[in-house]
Each structure stands twice: as C-alpha cells, then as structure tokens.
C-alpha cells in the first residue's frame, strides 16, 4: 500500500477546516455544518465570562511569581474554547476537567479561590465535585476520560435516565441546533475535557471505545492547543483530532477554538445528541496555548515566537470585543459596559489575591484521616507518632515553629 502523501493529508486537513462562526476580525458568519442562531446566546455575558476568566489566570500567574502558588497551568488563549463549551452545559450535567479548565470552573459557579488550593499545596482537592457537578482536577493525563464514561454509564442505568435505543440514536443525530433552554427537564449528559496530548494515552482510546459501543451520553471536548508541553501535535498524530473519531465510530467535529460561538454551538449540539440517546461526540477545538505549559515551563526552548505572534492575532477576547463594538450588541453605550467589566475584573482580582493568601493551612492529621473511611489501627498509631514528633519539634524550636 502506498504511504499517505503529505498532499493527501493536507487535503484531509482542508476537508476538516475548523468551523467558524466568528472571524478573527469579529464578523459573524455562518457555516452549513453547524446551523446556529446568534440570538440564542447572550454575547455580552460570554464576553464577561472570558474577561473574568482571563483575569483569574493573570492573577494566578502573579500569585505564583510572588511565591503564593507553587505552580499554575495557564489557560491564556483558550478562553473561548472553555467558556463556549461550559456555557452549553445545564446544571445537571457533569464535567470532568483536566488541570487547566479554570474557565469551565468559573462557569460552573465554583469559587475561584478553591481552584488555587491544589496549586498552593493546601489541599489535593479543594471542593466537592457534586456541589456544582464539576469533578476534581485530574493531573494524570487521560484518566478522567474513563471516569466520564463510567459516570455516563451510571446515568443510563438510572431509573430516571433516558432509554437509549438505536431508534433514538438515529433521531438524535438528525438534530442540529437546540434552543438555549430546553422545555422539559433534560437527562444529564457528561462533558469530558482533554488535551491533544491526552489522545495518545491508551486510557483515552479505551474511553472512546466504551463510549461508542454503549452509545453513552458523553461529549469529549478536546482543546487542541497544539502542544503537549514541548511536543507539537505532529508527535501525537498525522491526522486532525476530529478525524480520528471516525475510526472509533463517533462523530468528530472540528471548530475554531478561539471562536466562542462555534465552541458553544458545537458543544450544545453534541450535548443534546448525548442526552437524547444519540451517543458520544468528539469535539476538537482548534486553539493555541499562548503561555508556557505551566509557570515551571520555558516555551522558548521549543517553539518560535513567530507562531506565538500569529496566534495573538487570533485572540478569542479581541474578536468578541470587536464583534460587540461593531454590532453594538453590548449596549448602545458599550464603552460604559466594557469599563464596568474591567472594574469588576479589578475587584475580582483583588478579592482573589486576598482569599488565596487566606486559604486555610491543612492540619497535619489530614492525610491520615482521609486515607481510609475509618482510620486503621496502624494509621492511628502513626498519627500519634507524627503528633509526638511535631510536638517535640515545638519543644526544640519554641512556639514560633521555626525549625532548628
């Protein structure tokens, strides 16, 4: 068999041109592959989400630089993908994030300060995943995709879950766009986030197989930010992410990940398909990670500034801003509206800073208490030993806690 030539793959790439509903200049356009009515969304609210999310990110980076956080994975450049995907969710849907979904967390109503604890080293979790249907961050690449599948299996087994049948699958796949608020209380769906690098893990591929063969109500939302630390996407695959879906038997859809409307429309459609028994979808949001992988990484070692500049020109906030200005959609007095959001972001950042510093220090007994449902006799002994050790340190060094 002849090898796939570069030409063929370029052609495939063309066919998989990301769907765009908002151009980098801020012009609303339509695409037959993803019918969408802009009247269905609150554009100024999306803009506010994106501004506040970016501010959260900037503030967290500053806190890391000041030594208040050990590490921070920045979402800079991925705001449209995250806000678009998250605003397609219903409260009853469950989200399985990676470690970078700060914008999704924001949209779920999670207290942003609780995101910081993991990176400050005060906690390994920081919130109850059931409170806002947002799972704990998962640092091990790909693992959460299987959790999402299992959760979806639970949904279809629930007495209140939808009956999944071949007929409803066919019906649902005909549905293109859905209104913002469905009339009837909907069955929950699951939204799992993953990076492009995560597609190479065996577990992710297992998740696709389970989700498709059982036609589960799960949407895989891949932010293809084109880098897995220093590895460009070409290290993971020779075909676009969305195209890989076909081999597993689930629809793959490729959207411009810097276009909040395309991300929202695609996710809304996929979630609707999922909750009406139509099975899983893999969404590829083609975007760019504008900062280094984390604050511990040095991107200048592996990528060109020209590429970074190119993507700066496609900034997701700038394009929605341009659109709002051009259409006056924010308000007739849109400049006042923007100023208001800026002021809100400033107050938000100040509050976040203060609350980060005020995050409670963990008690030394915490790891012992939460290793098992009930502390084992051996662990009780070890905790006593540990407390005695800490007390002896106090004796040596005095109450200030300074180590000798």
């Amino acid at each position: 068999m002849p090898r796939t030539s570069a030409k063929t793959s370029a052609k495939t790439n063309d066919r998989q041109d990301p769907i765009q509903l908002l151009t980098p200049q801020g012009e609303a356009v339509s695409d037959a592959r993803l019918p969408f009515d802009p009247a269905d969304v609150d554009l100024p609210a999306l803009y506010r989400d994106m501004v506040l999310t970016r501010r959260l990110d900037t503030e967290a980076i500053a806190l890391q630089r000041q030594g208040e956080l050990g590490l921070w994975p920045s979402l800079f450049g991925q705001e449209a993908a995250q806000i678009g995907a998250a605003r397609a969710l219903l409260p009853s849907d469950m989200v399985f994030p990676t470690y970078r979904e700060h914008g999704v967390a924001w949209c779920r109503g999670l207290d942003p300060a609780s995101l910081l604890g993991l990176f400050r080293g005060t906690t390994l979790g920081g919130w109850d995943p059931r409170d806002v249907n947002f799972n704990l961050y998962t640092l091990v690449i790909g693992a959460q995709t299987l959790h999402a599948v299992g959760y979806a299996m639970g949904i279809v087994r629930d007495p209140v879950g939808p009956a999944v049948s071949a007929a409803s699958t066919a019906a649902a796949s005909a549905v293109l766009a859905t209104p913002a608020t469905p009339a009837a209380p909907a069955a929950p769906a699951v939204l799992a986030f993953l990076g492009d690098g995560a597609l190479s893990e065996g577990e992710t591929n297992e998740a696709f197989i389970w989700a498709t063969t059982q036609s589960l109500p799960v949407v895989f939302f891949c932010q293809n930010n084109q880098w897995a630390i220093s590895a460009p996407y070409s290290v993971q695959s020779t075909v676009p992410v969305a195209q890989r879906a076909a081999g597993f038997g689930l629809p793959g859809i490729r959207v411009d990940g810097n276009d909040v409307l395309a991300c929202l429309a695609a996710t809304r459609r996929a979630l609707h398909t999922a909750r009406t028994g139509g099975g899983p979808t893999l969404i590829e949001a083609f975007t760019y990670r504008r900062n280094a992988h984390t604050t511990a990484d040095d991107a200048s070692r592996y990528r060109e500034t020209a590429e970074e500049k190119e993507w700066a020109a496609k900034d997701p906030l700038a394009r929605l801003h341009a659109h709002l200005v051009a259409t006056g959609a924010a308000d007739s007095a849109y400049s006042a509206y923007f100023a208001e959001i800026e002021a809100e972001a400033q107050t938000f950042a100040e509050g976040l800073r203060a609350r980060c510093r005020a995050l409670p220090e963990p008690d030394p007994s915490l790891p012992f208490e939460h290793t098992y449902a009930e502390m084992t006799p051996e662990l009780s002994r070890q905790l006593a030993e540990h407390r005695a050790h800490l007390a002896s340190l106090q004796e040596i060094s005095g109450p200030s806690g300074e180590r000798a």
Binding site: G70, L71, G117, L118, F119, R120, G121, T122, T123, L124, L139, V140, I141, G142, G197, A198, S200, E201, G202, E203, A228, I229, S230, A231, V235, Q236, A296, D297, R301, Y302, E361, P362, P364, L366, P367, F368, H370, T371, T376, E378, L379, Q382, L383, H386, H389, L390, S392, L393, I396
Partner: protein
C-alpha cells in the same frame, strides 16, 4: 575529576553511552528539544539526533511497550518517565512483559531496558509529582531497582544500568538533582553493592537515594553527642546487598532503616526481616524504621514534616541506643 550536579552526571552518563554504543537510544516525553522537564537529557537530541533521542507520543505504556520490542531487535532503550506518578500507565508493560520476558522465553531473550524515573518528595510539588514507588518494582522478580545519591554514583550507575542485560528501574532522587559533587573517574563500585558511606561502631543507619544526605547529617550530629553511627547507602534495592548490611549489624548490634516511601510492606520491612533471620543474636535492640507514613503523599504544605528527616532519624537512633 569534574564537579557537576547529579542531573548533570546522569546527562554525562547518557552521553557516554550514546557515544560508545550505537544500540543505545533514549525514549521519553519532552526529552528532545526541551531536554526533559528536569533537563537531564539537555543537549543530547541536538548532538545525537532525533532517531537516538526520541520525543515520544504522550503514552507511558507506549514508551515501555516499544522498548520491549526494540530490545528484542538488539537495541538498549533508555526510557524516561517524566515523573514518578506517571509510571503507572506503564506498569502493565513493566511487570507483565518487561520483567518476565527472559523467563517466558526460557532465557533466550534479554531485556536490556533502563527506565529512568525522577522519584521521591521534598520539592513541594502538586499531587502525582512526589511518589516513592520503589517497593512495587522491587517486589517484581526479573526487575533490578537501583537509586543513586551522589553525582559520582549517578554517572557510574546509569552506565552500568544501560550495560546490564536485565531491565533496570533507575530511580533518580529528584530533590538531589541539583546536588553538586565530584565525578572521580575511579573504577566504579559494582551496581548492586551497597556502600558504607560513613563508618561507625554503635549503630547502623541504612538509607538510599534522597535520604542518604539526611542520614549522614544524623550521623554527624549523633557523633557530636558521642555516638558512632555507621551509614550505609543501599544503592540497589533489587537485588539487595544484604552482606554489607549484615556485616555492619554484626559489628554494631543496632539497625535503623530509613526511606521516604510508606512503611508497610516497604524496603525497610524486608531488611528488618533478613537481619532478624540471619543476625538475631547480634541484635541489641529491635530494628527500627523511619519512613513515610502509610498515607498518600500529603499536600505540599504538609510535606516537610510528613517526610522523614534528621529529627526523626535522631529520635530513632536515641531509641535504639536506649535499649
């Protein structure tokens, strides 16, 4: 004689192996252009090319599974797992395939594969970035498990591990990566021998990897208080050099074993068992362990106190001597 960091010494050792043996190749995530997240492979891709220093897709099972196939084809792959907590997706390949291949093939097929893992705590990281998985591997027949504590050992041991015809789990104590020391060029100690790093007559303190330095500090302080503590760096956890430990305990009559990994079913338990089997009548006190607790690594703000350090080692020395 050159002075370098432990990370630099491993880099030198890898460079030496790549230069002298065309069958050696490196596999791992971000090891090429980036030089690895700890820069252990810095510059090697530039000098040896992408077919010898391979930036792999993001899949640990893939890294080790392909190494098995490469080894069958006569290569000597050196895999890098980015962090201890990310080795688990590869554990199926390591335990079921890599470790058993020689045995399954009736001795016909060797698996000269090295798996380098930055391991242990003490750098204030987030979860999955500080783990001490040595006992899982040491409990697996067919695997060799070693760890270094000094640049000199790091340089020599990585070379010996690559030269080994058995699979070697090469644990790099990440909090010692920046420790400087001399690489002597003197003949290296055998890969699986323990080293007595400080002699003493009152008590034997056994450590390895990240805890060798605090063990030496413990011995120094105990020395000031008039107690003569012998410190042994195990270096190899599988196979274990029990001869060196036993000879020491027969002289001192007291033994304290320390590791960061959790206590139960750990390396310390194995050493304590062997010593009581073979040197019971020489013991003047029970064998004591100073270890991580039986919990997952805690959030980093609790880590410093959770990890065993000089204070807890000194307390154990006192307890042993009080018998």
């Amino acid at each position: 004689m050159t002075t370098t960091t432990l990370a630099g010494a491993i880099n030198d050792g890898l460079r030496h192996a790549l230069t002298t043996d065309p069958a050696v190749l490196l596999l791992g995530e971000d090891i090429g252009r980036l030089g690895g997240v700890f820069r252990v492979t810095d510059g090697l891709c530039a000098d040896f090319g992408t077919s010898r220093v391979v930036d792999t897709p993001l899949g640990e099972a893939g890294i080790v599974g392909t190494a098995v196939g490469l080894a069958m084809r006569g290569y000597r792959p050196v895999c890098e797992i980015q962090f201890d907590g990310f080795v688990y997706p590869a554990v199926n390949q390591i335990i079921s395939q890599l470790a058993k291949y020689r045995h399954r093939s009736g001795g016909r097929i060797a698996m000269p594969v090295v798996i380098r893992i930055p391991y242990g705590g003490g750098i204030g990281s987030i979860e999955h970035h500080s783990e001490s998985p040595e006992a899982y591997f040491a409990h697996t027949p067919g695997l060799k498990v070693v760890t270094c504590a000094t640049p000199d050992d790091a340089f020599n041991m990585i070379g010996q591990a690559i030269a080994s015809d058995d699979p070697v789990i090469f644990l790099e104590p990440k909090r010692r990566y920046w420790t400087k020391g001399e690489v002597s060029g003197a003949p290296a100690l055998d890969l699986h021998r323990a080293r007595t790093v400080r002699t003493g007559s009152d008590l034997t303190l056994v450590a390895y990897g990240p805890l060798v330095a605090p063990a030496l500090e413990t011995a120094r302080i105990a020395g000031e208080e008039g107690h003569s503590v012998e410190v042994i760096d195990l270096r190899s956890l599988a196979p274990l050099d029990t001869d060196t430990v036993m000879a020491s305990v027969l002289r001192t009559g007291r033994l304290v074993v320390t590791h960061e990994a959790s206590r139960t079913h750990g390396i310390g338990a194995e050493i304590a068992a062997r010593v009581q089997e073979e040197a019971f009548y020489a013991l003047e006190a029970p064998v004591l362990r100073v270890t991580g607790y039986d919990t997952p690594y805690p959030p980093s703000r609790l880590e410093e106190d959770w990890l065993p350090g000089v204070d807890r080692m000194l307390a154990a020395v006192d307890r042993s001597l009080a018998h």
